[in-house]
Amino acid sequence: MNNQVRELRSAQGWSQAELAERLDVSRQTVNAIETGKYDPSLPLAFGIARLFGLSIESIFLPGEE
């Protein structure tokens, strides 16, 4: 799964640590999501979407199977 988290975070001017604090997760988790090494659960994906004021499908895009 691909995502726009890094671009959205940079647009807000937030560091990974700041985004992690806002989402109440570790910086390691934010980095893993941004690099595509970890796909977040639905509640965390909703949390990310809510934080950026967007829908889940505009942030997370299905990758090649």
């Binding site: 640590a17 570790s26 910086r27 390691q28 980095n31 893993a32 970890y38």
Partner: protein
């Protein structure tokens, strides 16, 4: 050497190794938090800064874990050492039994701390911990099973059953720490 004296010495030394391994497991947590923090400087200063400073500080859930787990570990070690010293001078079987089961109280607190940290940390941290627990438990369980089979097959008399049994837990903690470091490598902090 008297058999009684030898058995309590074995008990204390092995339990001390258990406490040491438990310490390694919790230190591993500190290292894990340090790894995420990006702080610079000497390790003790770094640890303190990681624990205390603003947005780069150790997460609350891990601070709480250390606050709960480390005193319980310390209390366990104190009670084990107290057993080692008092067991020889106490004649009452009931009192000796009480001294033996008393360390179970801090163990309950340790279990509570571990369950709370697994439950309350974020989903990736939980995944890493659960994968590490799965690897460590299977490795330790089957490792000791194979070791038992090996002892039976070779008819080797070098290892006493009680000493072998006491080493199970330290091996579990140690393999958990190593497995966690290995699993975490898949998710670098950036």
């Amino acid at each position: 050497m008297r058999q009684g004296a030898r058995s309590w010495q074995d008990y204390v030394s092995c339990q001390a190794s258990l406490t040491f391994s438990t310490g390694i497991a919790s230190l591993e947590y500190v290292k894990f938090a340090l790894h995420q923090s990006d702080t610079r400087g000497a390790v003790p200063r770094k640890m303190l800064r990681t624990y205390t400073s603003g947005s780069r500080a150790m997460r609350k859930v891990h601070k709480r874990y250390l606050r709960e787990f480390l005193p319980a570990t310390f209390a366990y070690a104190v009670l084990i050492v107290a057993y080692g010293f008092l067991a020889r001078s106490v004649d009452s079987v009931l009192l000796r039994s009480l001294l033996v089961v008393l360390p179970l109280a801090p163990i309950v607190l340790m279990i509570r701390a571990m369950v709370r940290v697994i439950r309350d940390q974020d989903e990736l941290e939980r995944r890493i911990d659960l994968e590490a627990i799965a690897i460590a438990s299977m490795l330790t369980g089957f490792g000791f099973f194979s070791f038992g089979m090996l002892l039976g097959a070779s008819n080797w008399q070098g290892a006493q059953a009680n000493v072998v049994a006491i080493w199970v837990l330290p091996c579990l903690f140690l393999s958990f720490g190593l497995a966690k470091i290995w699993v975490s490598r898949r998710y670098p902090p950036g």
